[in-house]
C-alpha cells in the first residue's frame, strides 16, 4: 500500500465548525425565546376524526375506535409513548384531569407491550381506553407530529382543540375548561 498524506482540507472547510456552531447558537436562541403558550391552530380543528380502529394496547383496557370517540361524551385524546420523556413529565397532570372527571383516552405510538405496562405501572394509568398505533397512522391522520400531544374531542368525534407538547401543571385548568366547553 502506498503512503498517503491525508487530504489537506480546503481553507473554506476550516470555517465549517464555526458555521455549524453558529447554527447551533441560532437554534437554541430560538428555543429560549419560544413563547410559553405552545398551542397552535391546527388545520384539523373543527373537523371530524378519521375513521379508525386500534387494537387494545394493554390487557386491562379496551382498544380505541372512531365509534368510541363519538359516543356523545367529550374526551381528551392523549397521544403518548413509554419511550417519551415529556410523557412521563405529563403523567401527574393527566392523573389530575382524570380526578376532575375528564375522560382521558390514549393512543400509544410505536410501543412494546412490556414497556407500556411498565410505564403505566410507574406513572399511573389515567386512560379509560388505550389504542396501539404501531405505525403512527392515527398520529398522522389527526395532524399530530410528535409525542406527547393531546386533542379535545367533542361528543360527535370532532376535534375541538389541539395541544402540542406535554400538558403542564398550570395548563390543567385550561384543558378542563376546553373539555367542558366541548361538552356543551
Amino acid at each position: 500500500m502506498s503512503e498517503q498524506k491525508p487530504a489537506v482540507p480546503s481553507r473554506w472547510a476550516l470555517w465549517l465548525p464555526l458555521v455549524l456552531f453558529g447554527a447551533f447558537v441560532a437554534l437554541v436562541l430560538y428555543g429560549l425565546q419560544r413563547p410559553a403558550e405552545r398551542d397552535v391552530r391546527s388545520a384539523m380543528i373543527g373537523k371530524p376524526l378519521p375513521q379508525f380502529s386500534l387494537r387494545a394496547a394493554t390487557d386491562d383496557r379496551p382498544g380505541l375506535s372512531f365509534a368510541d370517540m363519538a359516543d356523545g361524551k367529550p374526551k381528551l385524546l392523549n397521544i403518548f409513548a413509554s419511550w417519551c420523556i415529556p410523557c412521563a413529565v405529563e403523567a401527574p397532570q393527566l392523573a389530575q384531569l382524570r380526578a376532575q372527571g375528564i375522560d382521558v383516552v390514549g393512543v400509544a405510538i410505536r410501543d412494546k407491550p412490556d414497556d407500556l405496562k411498565a410505564f403505566l405501572l410507574r406513572h399511573g394509568n389515567p386512560f379509560s381506553r388505550i389504542g396501539a398505533d404501531d405505525v403512527s397512522a392515527i398520529q398522522f391522520a389527526v395532524g399530530s407530529s410528535g409525542v406527547p400531544e393531546s386533542f379535545v374531542i367533542d361528543g360527535k368525534g370532532t376535534i375541538r382543540y389541539q395541544h402540542i407538547g406535554e400538558i403542564r401543571a398550570d395548563q390543567v385548568e385550561m384543558i378542563v375548561k376546553k373539555v367542558r366547553e366541548a361538552g356543551q
Binding site: 500500500m1 502506498s2 503512503e3 498517503q4 498524506k5 491525508p6 489537506v8 482540507p9 481553507r11 476550516l14 470555517w15 465548525p17 464555526l18 456552531f21 453558529g22 447551533f24 447558537v25 437554534l27 437554541v28 436562541l29 430560538y30 428555543g31 429560549l32 419560544r34 405552545r38 397552535v40 409513548a81 419511550w83 417519551c84 420523556i85 415529556p86 410523557c87 412521563a88 413529565v89 410505536r110 412490556d114 405496562k117 411498565a118 405501572l121 410507574r122 399511573g124 407530529s145 410528535g146 409525542v147 406527547p148 400531544e149 402540542i164 407538547g165 406535554e166
Partner: protein, 647 residues
C-alpha cells in the same frame, strides 16, 4: 467575616484573570514586557485566590452561617455534616464557584509545572484560560454572587430536602464538573498552540495528562450517574438517553477521541489540526452540556432548578468562548500542516478510523439530543428515544470496537494485516463462538453482535501483552490494556442485560410464589412503615436462587409529603452472575399488589467494566506523569549544575 474574605478573594482573582488575559495577549507580540514576565506568578496566585473563595464557601456551609443568603436557602443547621459540606456546590452559585475555582487552580498548575513548550505558547495558553474564566467570574460577581449577605440573618435554613441527601448525589455532580473543567485546559492548550503556531509532539505531551485526568473524572461521573439512575429510578434500566445523560456522554465521547488523537500527535507528529479541533470540541461539548441542563431548554426526567435568564448568560459565554476558538481555528488551522504520513494499515490508521467513528457517535447523540429543538422550529414538539439512539450509535460504535481489537497490535506508520492475523485467531474464534451461542438462544441483532464482539474483545484487548516480559511493560500500556478490557466487559454486560434479562410483571398477594429466571420468590408480607418525612409500603420477598438459601428483599413504594412525591425504592440482590431487581408498584382494586421483577444476568459487568476503563486511565496517567516528573527533575539538575559552573 469569612464571607467577606471569600468575596474579596473572588474579586481579586477576577482582577488577576483580567491581568492574565492582557499579559497573554501581549506575550503574542512584545517581549520583555514586565506584565509578560509576571504572567506565571499571576496565574498561580489567581488559582490560589479562587480556591480560597471556594474554601470560604465550604466553611460557611459547614458552619451553617445563616447571614449568607445562599446558606440560608440551601442548607439547614440539622443537616448531617457531609450534606452541609456537599451542599456548598449543590446549588447554582456554589457549582459555578466550584467551576471557576477548579479552572483557576488548573491554570495555576499549568503555570507552575509546564516548561517543555516555548514560553510564548504557555503564556498564550494561560491567556486563553483567563479568557474563558473571565466570563464565569463576571457571571458569578454580577449575576450570581454566592456570598450575598442577609441582614438580619435568617433564623433557620430552608434546605432540608432529604430527597437530595444521597451520597451518590453529593459527589456525582462535582466529579462530572471536574471532568468538564479539566477539559478547559485542553481547550486553552489548543488555542495557545494555534495562536503561536506551535502544534507539535511536545504540545501533545503537555496536553495529554490534562486530557487523561479530565477523562477519568468524566468516566467516573457517568458511571456513578448511571448506577444511581439504575437503582434509584426503579425502571430497571441503566441508561435512558435523557438529555442530562447525553450532556455528560458527549464530552466523554469527544475526550475519548482526543485522548487517542493526542497519542498519535505525541508519538508520530501526525493528526495535528484534527487534535487541535478535538481539543476545542471536547470543552465546547462540556459547555453545551452544562447549558442544555441548566437552561431547561430540553425536558428531562432529572429535575434541575432551571432559570431561562441563567440559560441566556451561559449561552452568551458559550457563544463568545467557542465562537472565538473556532474563529482562531478557521484563521490559523490552514498553517498547521497535517504532519507525518502513514498508511491505512497502521496504528495511526486504526486510531484515525476510531476517531472518526467516535466523532460520528458524538454527532448522532448531539443531533438526537437537539432534535426536539430542531423539530420545534417547525412547530412540532417531539421526543427521540432509544428506538433512534440504540441502532444509530451502534452503526458507529460496533465497527469501532472491531478496530479497537486490531489497532493496538499494529505498528506505527506501516504494517500488514498478514503479520498480525495469527494474533487475531483466538479472538476471532471466540467471537464466532459468541455468535453461535447468541444465535442458538435466538437473541436480537444488536445484542447478538454485542455478545460476539465482547467475547472476542476480552482476549483481543490483552493480546498486546502477548510475547512481552510483563515486568518490563510500561504503565501506559497496562493502562490501555486495562481500559480496553473494561470496554469489552461493559459491552458484554450491556449485551447480556438486553438479551437475557428475564422480566415478570405480576399482581400478587402475600403468600404467592413467583418464578423469574432461576429465582423463586415468595411474597411473604406487606407492611406500612414511616420515615422522617415519608411513609412507605414495604413488601418482603424471600428470594431463592436455583433452590438455594433464600435472601430477603424489601422493595418499598414511598410517598414523600414535602415536596409531595412518590418514589419506588427498588431492592437488589447481587450475585457474581447478575442481579435480581424488585420494584413494588400500586395496589390493584382487587387487593393484589403489582410487583415488577427482573433477573439481569451479568448486568454488573457494565459498571465493573466501566471502573476498569477509569482504572486504565489512571494507570496511563501515573505512567505519563511519573516520566514527565523524572524528565523535569533531570532538566532542573542540569540547569542547576550549569548555574554553578557559570561565570
Amino acid at each position: 467575616m469569612i464571607a467577606t474574605l471569600g468575596l474579596a478573594a473572588l474579586w481579586l482573582a477576577a482582577a488577576l484573570a483580567l491581568l492574565q488575559l492582557l499579559g497573554g495577549a501581549l506575550a503574542l507580540r512584545a517581549k520583555g514586557n514586565p506584565l509578560v514576565a509576571a504572567l506565571r506568578p499571576v496565574a498561580m496566585i489567581q488559582g490560589m485566590l479562587a480556591s480560597l473563595a471556594m474554601i470560604c464557601l465550604i466553611v460557611l456551609f459547614c458552619q451553617t452561617d445563616l447571614s449568607v443568603a445562599l446558606v440560608a436557602t440551601n442548607s439547614h443547621s440539622a443537616k448531617p455534616l457531609l450534606y452541609k459540606f456537599a451542599g456548598s456546590w449543590g446549588n447554582h452559585e456554589g457549582s459555578m464557584l466550584l467551576w471557576v475555582a477548579v479552572m483557576a487552580a488548573a491554570g495555576g498548575v499549568v503555570a507552575w509545572v509546564e516548561r517543555r513548550l516555548p514560553e510564548r505558547t504557555i503564556l498564550a495558553t494561560l491567556g486563553a484560560q483567563a479568557f474563558v474564566s473571565l466570563g464565569f467570574y463576571a457571571f458569578l460577581l454580577f449575576a450570581s454572587n454566592p456570598f450575598t449577605r442577609l441582614d438580619p440573618a435568617a433564623p433557620e435554613g430552608q434546605g432540608l430536602n432529604p430527597l437530595l441527601q444521597d451520597p451518590g448525589l453529593a459527589f456525582h455532580p462535582p466529579t462530572l464538573y471536574i471532568g468538564y473543567v479539566g477539559l478547559s485546559v485542553a481547550f486553552s492548550f489548543a488555542v495557545g498552540a494555534l495562536l503561536t503556531r506551535e502544534v507539535s509532539p511536545t504540545f501533545a505531551r503537555a496536553m495529554r495528562p490534562w486530557v487523561l485526568g479530565a477523562w477519568i473524572f468524566l468516566t467516573l461521573g457517568i458511571l456513578f450517574g448511571s448506577y444511581w439512575a439504575y437503582y434509584e429510578l426503579g425502571w430497571g434500566g441503566w441508561w435512558f438517553w435523557d438529555p442530562v445523560e447525553n450532556a455528560s456522554l458527549m464530552p466523554w465521547l469527544a475526550a475519548t477521541a482526543l485522548l487517542h488523537s493526542v497519542s498519535v500527535l505525541a508519538a508520530r507528529n501526525a493528526l495535528r489540526a484534527w487534535t487541535v479541533m478535538l481539543g476545542v470540541v471536547a470543552f465546547s461539548m462540556s459547555m453545551v452540556g452544562t447549558f442544555l441542563v441548566r437552561s431547561g431548554i430540553l425536558v428531562s426526567v432529572h429535575a434541575f432548578a432551571v432559570d431561562p435568564t441563567r440559560g441566556q448568560f451561559i449561552l452568551a459565554l458559550l457563544a463568545i468562548n467557542i465562537g472565538a476558538a473556532l474563529a482562531v481555528f478557521g484563521l490559523r488551522a490552514a498553517s498547521v500542516t497535517e504532519g507525518e504520513r502513514f498508511t491505512l494499515t497502521s496504528r495511526e490508521g486504526a486510531l484515525v478510523f476510531n476517531n472518526v467513528m467516535l466523532t460520528g457517535a458524538l454527532g448522532i447523540v448531539l443531533i438526537g439530543t437537539l432534535y426536539p429543538l430542531i423539530a420545534e422550529t417547525v412547530g412540532a414538539r417531539v421526543s427521540v428515544g432509544p428506538p433512534y439512539f440504540n441502532p444509530a450509535t451502534a452503526i458507529f460504535v460496533l465497527p469501532m470496537l472491531v478496530v479497537m481489537a486490531i489497532g493496538p497490535l499494529l505498528r506505527w506508520r506501516r504494517d500488514s494485516m498478514k503479520r498480525i492475523s495469527p494474533l487475531l485467531l483466538v479472538p476471532a474464534l471466540l467471537a464466532l463462538c459468541g455468535l453461535a451461542f447468541g444465535i442458538s438462544r435466538g437473541i436480537g441483532v444488536l445484542p447478538l453482535l454485542g455478545v460476539a464482539l465482547a467475547s472476542g474483545l476480552v482476549v483481543a484487548s490483552v493480546t498486546p501483552l502477548w510475547g512481552r516480559k510483563l515486568r518490563t511493560v510500561k504503565l501506559p500500556l497496562w493502562g490501555m490494556v486495562t481500559a480496553h478490557l473494561g470496554v469489552a466487559l461493559a459491552l458484554g454486560g450491556m449485551a447480556s442485560d438486553s438479551a437475557f434479562t428475564k422480566e415478570k410483571l405480576v399482581a400478587a398477594r402475600p403468600g404467592d410464589t413467583i418464578a423469574v429466571g432461576p429465582w423463586s420468590l415468595t411474597f411473604t408480607k406487606v407492611k406500612p412503615i414511616a420515615g422522617s418525612n415519608w411513609t412507605a409500603i414495604e413488601a418482603t420477598l424471600e428470594a431463592g436462587y436455583d433452590g438455594g438459601k433464600p435472601i430477603t428483599l424489601k422493595p418499598q413504594a414511598r410517598a414523600f409529603w414535602s415536596p409531595p412525591q412518590g418514589t419506588n425504592e427498588s431492592a437488589l440482590a447481587t450475585r457474581w452472575n447478575g442481579q435480581l431487581y424488585a420494584v413494588l408498584g400500586e395496589q390493584a382494586e382487587d387487593g393484589r399488589w403489582q410487583l415488577r421483577l427482573w433477573w439481569k444476568p451479568f448486568v454488573t459487568l457494565i459498571w465493573l467494566g466501566g471502573m476498569l476503563v477509569a482504572l486504565g486511565g489512571l494507570l496511563a496517567l501515573f505512567g505519563r506523569v511519573a516520566s514527565d516528573l523524572r524528565r523535569l527533575i533531570a532538566v532542573d539538575k542540569i540547569a542547576y549544575r550549569r548555574r554553578r559552573q557559570g561565570p
